[in-house]
Symmetry: C2
């Protein structure tokens, strides 16, 4: 029992497998719902859609052209949708939370896809008719061409502001 004690200094075992690294997620890119950039995009969509709606609705004879009626309906839908999501963004900013659950992001993505497609289709149809009246037939003395052009341009701007929202939402949904 007086044997020397073994003088082995075992190497510390390597640490156990660390927890799996957290999934890489897109950070809160400005422009996503619940961020300041997202709110700015929503407000731009809303403002451009409302300007387009009011300019087109105050022309005297928009109701005689199907595409212009469709434009009024489309930018009306776009302005409603953008207003609702702007309110949701303001709420999210006030409580300092961001929308991180899949159901909300999927609803936002689908809604953004539908409204931006409808707005873009209406803007294209109006642009086709405005160019037909103005450039091809030269009827601008009979029609308020400048108002048609302004309403169409505002609808396109609303769509431009809606596209980043849709793409960022879709990206965030796909990378969940």
């Amino acid at each position: 029992m007086t044997q020397s004690r073994p003088a082995v200094h075992p190497v510390d075992p390597p640490p156990l497998t660390a927890a799996a690294p957290p999934r890489v997620r897109l950070k809160d890119v400005q422009g996503m719902p619940g961020t300041g950039g997202g709110l700015v995009l929503r407000l731009l969509q809303f403002i451009f859609a409302v300007i387009s709606l009011s300019v087109m609705a105050t022309t005297s004879d928009f109701s005689s052209v199907t595409a212009f009626c469709y434009l009024v309906a489309a930018v009306g839908l776009q302005s409603l949708w953008s207003l609702i999501l702007a309110i949701a963004d303001i709420y999210a900013l006030l409580v300092k939370r961001s929308f991180r659950n899949t159901v909300a992001v999927s609803i936002f993505t689908i809604g953004d896809g539908i409204t931006s497609t409808v707005t873009f289709a209406a803007a294209c149809a109006s642009a086709g008719i405005t160019v037909l009246i103005g450039n091809d037939l030269h009827y601008c003395n009979l029609n308020p061409c400048s108002r048609f052009m302004a309403a169409t341009a505002m609808a396109f701007l609303s769509w431009f502001a809606a596209s980043p929202s849709f793409i960022l939402n879709f990206w965030s949904f796909a990378s969940e």
Copy 2:
């Protein structure tokens, strides 16, 4: 020197950290580039775009309307793009590989986004003018309305076939 040798049986160290688990990837969903479904989508886009192009280009007076010229250019671009990607799909199917590198998928996504947006815009503009001529002004006795409608409908069908390609490519790109 006759002391007993230490009889330590060290515990095997735990295995080193296993390789990180492979990233979860969307499997080869039918419709992605390099799959049979993707090839079918490309061929549908190509066929509808070519029908739209030939129907519109054989009307006598399409060149007097800007939107119809734009439709011809847009479905021409769509048919070229779809043909090139159909050939790439056929090659990928023959060598039994799928497109899995980020550069190819990003080029496909951007190209699909541009061509499908251009086709959709042209189809909407043509639809607006066709409805204006047919329903609002009742000029169908003077114009080949049925040909305009057929070309517009084919352009919309080409866009319908292009949308799944774009969405699946974008999804695959975002979840890389």
